[in-house]
């Protein structure tokens, strides 16, 4: 009897469990909301959402929801659209400079109801260039040729120089962790440098205040914001940057009142299409569409969750979630290991961006002080093989250093193409004996070289491919050396690498953003290439007023790069995202620019 009761109890227990687990469904909680939110997974939690000081791509993505710059851009054509400015006009002044006058729309409002004025832009830009702010894009005005920026940043250079020294010392401090005496000495040096920087900032403050008044931006009245740049070439660059988040306006009373806490949800005042409702760190930013935004009628998405802090595996689970209330609609990136699995699905969106992965040659040291050697190694690289079999990310192989631009804005040249025979001939001309013995290329007299890169599986794969190509095509011995990003960039900046990897993503869609790197005065010129003729060409290109002339000059400059080969471009960078098919309005473009207010959500199929 007892046994029978036990069996009955067991059967009842198991049956209850089975019935409960098959009928109980937490999904009954879902779908209670009025609209399905748009969920966008960002890479990481931002350090700050203050768009004036931000330097992270995550922070900038968030900024485009909360602030509105002078202009937006059409995703397809990338031409400027009205933003905070309802219109603008460009005029060439008699002194050769160009003035662009923006009229701020009368119906543009902050989230607290105050009107957006030209003075808000003036305050934001002043705060941007102020060394006390420490904005990453502090030097942006110099980049787009703002009048007065050269003098301002020349005066500010001692502060900037001390700041660079502090950063370098901090890098070295991290590397010196095993040596207590060295650490103590270097810590003291950093402290001394910091003190010098503070003193220098105090000393230069009156001069910088005077010079900032001479910078070429001005609020002529409440609704007119004028910007003066050096030439029409720079005017084009400025219009590429006018829609960049660090140039968004700021509501001065909010910042003065709340100081560092002005970006808290209860304090933040923005002029963008969305309002920040809630922020959970390592969770999400919850945004709601502003009904009082001037263009609210064209905003299809009411609620946005910008989800932060999840590792890729969690993001992928969320993306594959079937519950429409919880599923992600878009991701900012895709882990490279997963690209293959998503390759044939419409969700995977691979789009080139304006940036190049390249090889840098140290032009001041043997054997790469000979341009024939540099050309030889460049011509021995099979770019197609690299993108097809090594990186496998649908990148576009590129031999030019300045990629082409849409709408005929810039046509790229053809640089040094893969040609092993010509490569070997270049080495012979450089004085090396290159023979083919038993189907193997043997080069005599060529020193063993080291290719450096920062530790990363992707870079390692490319490095190994290059090593093999140079061995196979040129018969030269190449060692590989990897180190951490900090150590690698340090070595590269000190000129300690013979040949190493490089990569640059342009800050704006204009060849200047790439050309700038190889100027003699550029801090990014890791190849130490000195070519006065090249610098002259770039200078002329920026002064030219005719767009055809500008293109021609940049093409000549790029041809010079190909001829002297201080760098060897490999491929153009891509962005890779997952985007659900029911996300409307998403258009691939070179800027990877997809403001949420331009997107929509249709019902999933």
């Amino acid at each position: 009897m007892k046994l029978s009761n036990k069996i009955k109890s067991t059967i009842i227990f198991v049956a209850t469990f089975v019935i409960a687990s098959t009928t109980f469904d937490c999904r009954r909680d879902a779908g209670k909301g009025k609209d399905k939110p748009f969920r966008y997974a960002l890479e990481t939690e931002p350090k700050t959402i203050d768009w004036n000081v931000n330097d992270e791509s995550v922070g900038i993505e968030i900024a485009y929801h909360l602030c509105e710059p002078l202009v937006w851009y059409d995703q397809k054509t990338l031409i400027p659209l009205p933003g905070a400015a309802e219109s603008w006009k460009q005029e060439n002044l008699s002194d050769g400079t160009v003035k662009i006058t923006f009229t701020i729309g009368q119906d543009r409002k902050w989230t607290n109801g105050d009107p957006v004025t030209a003075r808000d832009f003036h305050y934001a830009w002043s705060r941007l260039v102020d060394p006390k702010t420490g904005a990453k894009y502090q030097r942006l005005p110099k980049l787009f040729g703002l009048i007065g920026a050269d003098a301002y940043f020349a005066a500010e250079q001692p502060i900037n120089s001390l700041h660079s020294q502090i950063e370098k010392k901090q890098n070295m401090l991290d590397e010196a962790s095993g040596n207590a005496e060295l650490v103590k000495r270097m810590t003291q040096e950093v402290e001394d440098l910091r003190r010098q920087k503070s003193e220098k900032m105090e000393e230069l403050e009156p001069q910088l205040t005077r010079l900032s008044g001479e910078l070429g931006f001005k609020a002529e009245n409440e609704r007119t914001f004028a910007v003066r740049v050096k030439s029409s070439g720079y005017a084009d660059i400025f219009m590429e940057l006018a829609g960049f988040a660090p140039l968004c306006p700021l509501h001065q009373p909010t910042i003065l009142k709340h100081k560092m806490k002005w970006t808290n949800p209860e304090n933040i005042v923005g002029n963008g299409p969305y309002k920040l409702i809630e922020h959970v760190k390592d969770g999400y930013f919850l945004l709601q569409k502003r009904q009082d935004w001037w263009n609210a009628g064209n905003v299809a998405i009411d609620r946005v969750f910008l989800e932060t802090g999840s590792k890729w595996e969690v993001t992928l689970q969320r993306y594959e979630e079937s519950d429409p209330q919880k599923t992600l609609h878009m991701t900012q990136t895709v882990s490279p290991d997963w690209i293959k699995q998503w390759r044939n699905k419409p969700d995977l969106r691979i789009s080139p961006i304006y940036g190049v992965y390249y090889v840098i040659f140290q032009t001041q040291k043997s054997p790469f002080n000979d341009e024939r050697v540099r050309r030889a190694l460049c011509k021995a690289i099979d770019r197609q093989h690299i993108v097809e079999f090594v990186t496998q990310g649908d990148q576009r192989p590129i031999s030019a250093f300045f990629p082409g631009l849409p709408n005929g804005k810039y046509t790229e040249i053809t640089g040094l193409e893969f040609n092993p025979e010509q490569a070997r001939e270049e080495l012979r001309k450089a004085g090396y004996t290159v023979n083919v013995e038993n189907d193997k290329v043997v080069t005599r007299g060529f020193p063993s070289i080291t290719y450096m890169y920062n530790t990363n599986p992707g870079h390692e794969a490319v490095a190994t491919a290059l090593q093999e190509m140079w061995r196979e095509q040129l018969g030269i011995s190449v060692q590989l050396s990897s180190s951490s990003w900090k150590a690698f960039t340090e070595k590269r900046e000190r000129g300690e690498c013979q040949v190493c990897r490089g990569g640059w993503i342009g800050d704006f869609l204009h060849p200047l953003t790439m050309a700038d790197i190889l100027l003699k005065t550029s801090s990014q010129n890791d190849s130490r290439w000195v070519a006065p003729e090249y610098d002259k060409l770039i200078g002329e290109a920026m002064e030219a007023s005719d767009s055809e002339q500008v293109t021609k000059l940049f093409q000549e400059a790029d041809a010079m790069i190909a001829q002297e080969a201080p760098v060897c471009p490999l491929y153009q960078y891509n962005t890779v995202r997952l985007v659900k098919p029911n996300v409307g309005g998403y258009v691939d473009n070179l800027r990877d620019y997809h403001p949420t207010w331009q997107l929509s959500l249709t019902a999933p199929k």
Binding site: K32, N171, D174, S177, T187, S198, V280, K281, V314, R318
Partner: protein, 328 residues
Amino acid sequence: MKKIFYFVAVRLSIFTVLLLCVTIITFLLLRASPGNPYSSSDRKLSALQEAPMREKLCLDKPLHAQYYCYLKGIITGDMPSMKFENKTSFELLFPGKGISEGLPASAILGFVALILASIFGSAAGVIAAKRKNTAVDYLVMAIIMIGITIPTFVIGPLLQILLAGPTGLPKNGWCPGLEARKFTGESCWQYFVLPTITLAIAYAAYFARFARTGMLEVINEDYVRTARAKGLPGWLITLRHEMRLGLVKNVTFLGPAASGIVVGSLVVERIFAVPGIGKLLVESSLDKDFTTLMTMVVVLFTLLFFANLCVDISYYFIDPRIRKNKEV
């Protein structure tokens, strides 16, 4: 009761001394670690942060003054975070969003897991002891072994696959904030299920094991035999006489279990994307956010100290021998 007040007073005074020692040791260790608070270039302190930071942390003053500033910052709660410009380290731990974020999220996760582990684990151990050397006992022991040997980072994903799909429970994520819940209409409890079960399983196994051992020790005691002889029903004997002393080991284990759950929650928070202090702890270490690390050490030490104090106080009520001051 006078005894208990005296006991608590003594422990609180020890706590003050220990807390000071913990802060001094942590402070010295952090300051002795390579570099200074600004040394990692991965964490660029903005100029806006730098000057007020130096002032708040008294970085231009001698070491003992810096320690005093740290202590003052912890007590007043306004020690700035070295990573997030607009937050103090206290605000990172206690963001004021209920259980959606920070320490309250980790605490509720740990607390519920501990309750589940202790209740179910103890129950399983009691049943196993009462059914010693039967199929039930062997089954419980087998489950204990599995719970102890399989790591949390295996159990978590297994539960995600086995349970989340069929039942519609969320695979990951945590209870959203109030505004988000108002909009989506979802409730918090569904986010608790998988993380708390994952965290509870290993500790339930330990509780079961201790319960079984403890119960086996008291089952054959004279007073239990007497109760049986008196004709008391079996369930009353178990509840009133056997469990009282049989589960003392489980009460003792509550203290270390609380510590273990705090550590274990780091892995679970990672698996289920819970925005608790687990990630904050790791990131603060990597980013050398000294101020947040110091605050976390102090807060966690305080929590665990008081958890163990509660355990010690509970002995007074559980074990009559302690109340009557007899030899145990």
